[in-house]
């Protein structure tokens, strides 16, 4: 039952039950429930033939790190460990994220009218040590995840062929794509709501102002 799991967004954000942020999220119960149902469909599914549990968590840890979200990275690193992966794999994923660190979105447009806006940038590929540590399938998955995270406008049939050649099935590619795309959503909900929650209320702002006056007067 999904109710045995707490809410992943709340977990990562540290939302306190009954707090203003909790109340705000509960004003959109269908969105809140289905954001969680999406997480469960990707990370707590019995359908692991085309994409294994450790592969899913390794990609999630990589994507969270590329977004510079340390709370989410800790959450997915814990899932990776629980899926049975050893510390060497976790370390390799962290090394991969460090070597792929950049800022997006960028990339070259295929549309002729948008060439002036093309912004070429890093097309990340794993080095030999990483390939050895990650294996062929996960190396291909992380390279594709990097493409989707930073330069989705450069996606191509060749990028999908690289996944097929590394042993991913068509269904596995759909799941992997959903996973990276879902995380691109979930991590932004966490960032946005976290910021919204940090906004001082008028009362708090007045109190801060009064305190500052005392300090500086």
């Amino acid at each position: 039952m999904s109710t045995t799991f707490t809410d992943a967004v709340d977990d990562i954000l540290g939302v306190i039950p009954g707090s203003p942020l909790d109340q705000l999220r509960r004003r959109r119960p269908v969105t809140r429930d289905n954001t969680q149902a999406s997480y469960l469909a990707l990370f707590h599914t019995g359908q692991l033939d085309d994409a294994g549990a450790s592969e899913r968590y390794a990609v999630a840890l990589f994507v969270a790190l590329l977004h510079d979200n340390h709370a989410a990275a800790a959450f997915y690193a814990s899932g990776l460990t629980q899926s049975g992966a050893g510390p060497a794999l976790t370390a390799a994923v962290r090394d991969a994220a460090q070597s792929g660190d950049t800022e997006g979105p960028y990339g070259t447009y295929r549309e002729p009218g948008l060439q002036g806006e093309s912004k070429p940038g890093l097309q990340w590929v794993a080095g030999q040590d990483l390939r050895d540590a990650l294996g062929i399938r996960l190396t291909a998955a992380l390279e594709h995840a990097h493409l989707l995270v930073f330069r989705p406008r450069e996606a191509s049939p060749a990028a999908l062929q690289a996944l097929l050649s590394a042993g991913w099935t068509t269904t596995g590619i759909v799941t992997l794509s959903q996973l990276v795309a879902f995380l691109s959503y979930q991590l932004r909900i966490i960032t946005g709501l976290g910021l919204l929650n940090a906004q001082p209320t008028d009362e708090e702002a007045e109190r801060t102002e009064a305190q500052n006056e005392r300090i500086y007067s």
Binding site: L24, T31, A41, E103
Partner: protein, 200 residues
């Protein structure tokens, strides 16, 4: 079903961002309508979505498709309270413009134009990008969506303050965040599993 990639050498591709109706062709093989199982239909949520190559391809993993579809519909169609539909579509369009998804931008710019009746402003967003001057309230929404599209995110307290100054309450600001965040999901699927086709 085979595991292979399909390419379209002679495809009539769009030249740039447009509000015109575009098609979309898949690079991976989608199940045919006849092949769809009942579980896959459940993932589609609306049975009519079976006519779309995009949704039939996503139906290869029906559970995540179903949860995603329900998230999508609530974020955009549940307008009993909160942000008006036009501005949810504006956030979706700005996100798609920033990420470079010509297909998503075409669909949601048409919705933004339809619900706001501000076709020319929407067209300027497509032509000039998310820095186009569309008036204080729309500028606040497109700036927040563009900042949130960045990886790592560039959204900051100033963006939220600008939304508040434009008259948005907490639920409406949360709706901007959700509409924009959701298109970071949609853009990546649309851009990476196939490509848009212009009407001939």
């Amino acid at each position: 079903m085979s595991d292979s990639v399909t390419t379209y050498p002679g495809l009539n591709r769009p030249e740039a961002f447009t509000q015109d109706q575009l098609g979309w062709v898949p690079w991976l093989e989608a199940p045919t309508v006849e092949e769809l199982t009942e579980r896959q239909y459940e993932g589609l949520v609306d049975r009519s979505r079976a006519s779309s190559d995009y949704f039939r391809l996503l139906a290869r993993d029906p559970d995540i498709l179903g949860a995603r579809t329900r998230t999508d519909k609530d974020i955009f169609y549940n307008t009993k309270e909160g942000l008006p539909r036009a501005e949810r579509e504006l956030a979706a369009t700005a996100t798609s413009r920033e990420n470079g998804c010509v297909f998503c931008a075409s669909v949601h710019s048409r919705f933004a134009s339809h619900y706001s009746e501000r076709h020319d402003d929407v067209q300027r967003l497509l032509d000039d990008g998310t820095s186009a001057d569309l008036g204080p309230r729309w500028n606040a929404i497109t700036a927040a969506a563009a900042a949130l599209a960045h990886t790592p995110s560039r959204l900051n307290a100033g963006h939220l303050q600008a939304l508040e100054d434009a008259g948005l309450d907490a639920l409406e600001i949360s709706d901007v965040i959700h509409g924009a965040a959701f298109f970071n999901w949609a853009n990546r699927l649309m851009l990476s599993l196939g490509e848009p086709e212009a009407a001939s």
